[in-house]
Amino acid sequence: MKRRTSTPLPSEITREEVYFSRRALLGGVLGASLSLPLLSAAAAKPGELAYQRNAKLSINEKPNSFEEITTYNNFIEFGTDKADPARYARDFRPQPWSVTVAGEAEVKGRYALEDLLKAHPLEERIYRLRCVEAWSMVIPWVGVPLADLLKRFKPTSRAKYVEFTTLLDPKRMPGQRSAILEWPYVEGLRIDEAMHPLAFMAIGLYGRSLPNQNGAPLRLVVPWKYGFKGIKSIVKIRFSATQPRNTWAIAAPDEYGFYANVNPAVDHPRWSQATERRIGASLLNQRQPTEPFNGYAGQVAHLYRGMDLAKFF
């Protein structure tokens, strides 16, 4: 892991078609044999990752282009406009990076990112991403199953929730200089949600290290929840007995909840959640119905059996 440029030069970006034809090969040959998830010497290009595609947990929809995924971002730490993160995160250096593990767990401490990840083989998962603003994308993430990572810290029986915290550094994250949200950004999951096989800790997309604007160097991906649950640039993981207070629920509790499960039946107070616009679709045909739990109901609906999802939105 010599260099992890997060905004690759245009010439370095793998074209989607090439990427898809090469992926199987890379995954098959390298992913299985390497214990180090991040290639250094073997990588043909900086930031390129070795991984195996998890076809079982991937959807069969065409991913959005690398450009769409990396120029249309909600990452308030780098500005409120969707184009801001690509612009203002360009010089952000996500290394060296360490993550503090704390709270109700037997194994705690501060870990260099490399040490945190090296035990885990990387997977690729193609997930839908549904933003609470009623647009959606399909993204080929690379990362590790969140459960595998969390289990290494041996959460105790008191660990009912997991809380994640983003880096707080207004010098490097200019958006944090204005108090439009309570910084640092905090998100959380119930422990059974965090341990669900679909919950994912991403360190890359399209086969390369995460671009800064997508939450480098590591971010949460919870595909059945609205995108704001996918906290970016994580520096702290805390196991907790009580429900974490997540940033958006603090900012506007009537608009954003803790669960934030994708739910076409429960509208945002200011707009409908029944449909979504798929970014990159034809201009005249962008609307499509939103699925309960973003189409992952079969896998996750049981987690919420008996809960009033209009109340716990």
Binding site: T71, I180, R270, W271, L283, L284, N285, Q286, R287
Partner: protein
Amino acid sequence: MAAPRVDRWLRWGVKPLVFLLCLLPLAKVAAGIAGVGGIRLGADPVEEILETFGKWTLNFLLVTLCVTPLRQLTGFNDLVRFRRMLGLFAFTYACLHFATYLVLDRGLEWNAIVVDLAKRPYITIGFTALVLLFPLALTSTRGMMRRLGKRWQKLHRLVYVIAILGVWHFYWQVKLDVREPLIYAAILAVLLGYRFWRYRQRASKAAAAQGATATAESGRAG
């Protein structure tokens, strides 16, 4: 009325130029859709188009509202000759904004649109502003001005309400960073505040004049 040379220059030079400039935002969107001239609408063209037309509606509303104060402050009365055109551009961009919402954003799904109009306050007030623009656009002709006489001016004061609703519509749909809508609100406050100030001044002058006449009359009587 300006001297004939100035008049000709305004009519055949400046006015067509302003007209073309007013078309630029539309041209930019058209070029972006067609993918020509290196103009790109980004990853979410629908949002970009909606926002472009919406903001230019507000821009034209505010510019239209600048005409009278500027005319009064500078004494350059010919400015009023641009007012109708600017107002009609506000109307045009408002229609384009709404059409974008109907066709590109909502995909002409009427059930969802009706629910939006009824249940989403920011959409309700935006739509109200658009509806109120129609009588103004329809009565913008010289003939209608003549026919309506004094009532024309009264009717067209609706533009104050429309501008307030428009800026409010902008403010209400923003998720987090309200600085931009607040800038619009501040400019609108200045433009409306100026009118209120003028109105008060005129009223007190009229009262003073009336008082003076009354005193003079009572003096004569006494």
